[in-house]
Amino acid sequence: MHKFSWLRLIRIGISVIILILTGMLFIVPANSMPSGFINTITWLQFAPSLLKFFIAAGLASAGFLLVIILTFLSGRIYCAGICPLGTIQDIFTWIHRRFFRAKPLKYAGATNYLRYTLLAFVLLSFFAGTTLLISLLDPYSNFGRIMSNLIRPLTFAGNNAISDILENFDLYLLAKSDYKGFFIMPFALSAAFLFVLGWLSWHRGRLFCNSVCPVGTVLGIISKVSYFRITLDRESCNSCGHCSSVCKAQCIDVKNREVDLSRCVACFNCLDVCPADGVSFKPVVLSKKIKPEAGSEGNAHRRKILKAVLLFSAFITSRALATRVTGGEKPTTIADTKKLVPSPPGSVSQDDFNRLCTSCHLCVSVCPTQVLQPSFLQYGLHGLMQPFMDNHSGFCNFECSLCGQVCPTGAIRPLSPERKKITQIGIARFIKENCVVYTDNTDCGACSEHCPTKAVNMILYKGKLTIPEIDDKICIGCGACEYACPTKPYRAIYVEGNEIHLIAEKPVEKELKPIETNQDFPF
């Protein structure tokens, strides 16, 4: 047993716990978890927390600060155990090593051009008004999409299979649920990402974290000056390479007895294997030896680049890269095509939403009605995979504001129940020519039935027949009418999204005419 073995064991323990807890958020019905619990678990996730800090600085969004402090203190602890995507990669690497006798990894040089360029692009594009690159590269968001789009359907299937078995015994303990709105593209993109990630970690350990992941790159810069660090003892080290062969980050250069701290993911595997006890995790010795080493010039250079990037981005208008692929065109037939899909209540406006959402799909996973679905190009390319209100899958429950309570980036802000009920995310539009009342001359009214504000009201049409009429002022765009409308393939009523969310008027509460207080029966 080595002196530092316990560090590795703790790291494994923490990473597994966080992986399970975070994974759970995406597959366990949200009703069974208080939102405070969900927020606590996502609190430390770096990219969402940082984004949230931009719009609401405070304790609730300070998780990333703790991560930064931790990194200054002891390196990329986030990558070691907090990032669920890191743990997934470790599992792939471990399986390869344990069951398929992987060749030991060797030291490899850093892919600095790639990682710093990607980071620059991420920052640039973010300040230009799109989270697309963050969304595509952020490890937590990618993890979320894997859970939400790949694992969640499986849990639905498993749940329903068990439920079916119980039902045969007249036991209704476990409710079945339908997995609604299966969208092929978000599924395919998540699957493709998982495949690439799996392949990379199978062969090259944490290569993704050290050459692609923007969070890893940022924390890597900080961890160069971390207080505690992995150190090879120059006296006892005989360059045997044991440590290097278990290093997932391929960052231990045994020849020169140096560790690339910017890439070390603090997994502590190396501490456990040195036959000479020459690898240690200890405070940096602030002596001449380390301070003026090469690289400080490079750092200064890099700082300049970063500054330039930030300045440049200030000149780019917020919509420079925000091209709406689907925006603009007017429907020419009676198809119920939307110009704009509604974004979730609390997202303030489409632009705000597009600029802050990293598509982790936590809201998609917790939405009790499944009205929130991952988009493909509904928002345009810059909103790739960001959730939208899909009123063919469900409608927004009037009393519910769960998405805003769990959103880790602040893209969907929490709304009080009263506020939620007047937040207008879109307005219902009626296509009379599609309506059953118009085409068949029979009663329907499914839309009005479901309307929580009676913005869709049935008014006299022909004889006793009634037909819907919409009051834009009190409609909140929940989509209940669209969901309930029975006409096919195009609905007779649909919700057109608001580009900027508005406040609807409250329905007027008129006094009821006093009921005849006849003390007898009317028959």
């Binding site: 209704y172 409710a175 079945k176 059953v436 068949d440 029979t442 028959f523």
Partner: protein
């Protein structure tokens, strides 16, 4: 007041007021004693939901007339909406609980409760207060939220509705008690006992697209509930079936109980203040001879509490 009505009321009231006024005793008494009249329909007013049902079922000869020992019962309230009881969008939870207890006292093996809700089902179950009421009363609350619970049945006498997917509990239960809440309805004018049966089928959209009123009546031709209990305690007078606020609700304290679903709906329509002739599905059902719309031809027990 008619003499027999006086006697029944006197006897029941005495029992309710009595020290041993548990439901079990009431049921025993009602089933053991000779019932002076076979009522087609019982209308009760001015009491609390549970008490009104006690009185109504007692006058019909007790629950044991409908539920035999060891039978499986399904109770179908309206749990369509994610609204609290005072909004009157759903059946009164106290009434549902009381019906379950009567069934269990009569020896039912299991009493199941479900609805195919409109709003998100577990929020409806929870916030209507019905889930808790059912569990507390000893019943079993069952989901109806996915197609997997529904099986296709043929409706040979249906004119528009030839088949429907019906919840398996309706198919496997011996006794079916239909417990709608009386309320305004934007599609069907009023939501009544026949309308409440839309909550036991899966594809309601088909009904809406294919002459709603005819489909409502058609479904009754497939199977009539054993008993219908229309909850008119709190009544939503407008903006139905979901309602917008409690300003839509009037406390009427009424109840209709009948095995004849068409008669029950006709009587409830009058209580609401509407004309049954204006409710097309009632007229169609009457014409299809699914029940009686002429209330003057029925033996009606009118109870005031």
């Amino acid at each position: 007041m008619k003499r027999r009505e006086f006697i029944i009321q006197g006897v029941s009231a005495g029992l309710v007021a009595g020290a041993a006024g548990g439901i079990g005793n009431l049921v025993d008494f009602a089933s053991a004693s000779p019932v002076p009249e076979i009522w087609d329909l019982v209308a009760v007013r001015d009491g609390e939901p549970g008490i009104m049902f006690d009185r109504a079922i007692a006058s019909l000869g007790g629950m044991s007339k409908y539920v035999k020992k060891g039978q499986k019962v399904v109770v179908k309230p309206n749990i369509g909406w994610d609204v609290p009881p005072e909004r009157a969008g759903n059946t009164n939870p106290g009434l549902v609980a009381r019906i379950i207890r009567h069934c269990l006292d009569a020896g039912a093996s299991d009493v199941y409760v479900f609805d195919n809700t409109c709003d998100e089902w577990n929020l409806c179950y929870k916030n209507s207060g019905i889930e808790k009421a059912v569990k507390d009363a000893g019943g079993k609350i069952v989901p109806g939220n996915t197609e997997g619970y529904y099986q296709t049945v043929k409706i040979p006498r249906g004119r528009k509705l030839k088949e429907a997917k019906v919840h398996e509990l309706i198919l496997t239960s011996d006794v079916f008690i239909n417990v709608p809440v009386l309320k305004h309805h934007s599609s069907a004018s009023l939501s009544l006992a026949m309308k409440n049966l839309m909550g036991v089928v899966w594809d309601r959209g088909y009904w809406h697209r294919n002459d709603l009123h005819q489909c409502i009546a058609d479904f009754v031709s497939w199977r009539k509930p054993t008993l219908n209990v229309i909850d008119g305690y709190r009544v939503m007078m407008r903006n139905g079936p979901r309602g917008v606020s409690t300003a839509d609700v009037v406390t009427m304290k009424q109840m209709i109980v009948s095995a004849d679903i068409v008669a029950a709906d006709t009587a409830a329509t009058k209580i609401f203040g509407s004309n049954p002739e204006d409710i097309r599905h009632i007229m169609i059902a009457g014409e299809m001879k699914l029940g009686i719309t002429a209330l003057d031809k029925l033996k009606i027990n009118r109870i005031k509490i």
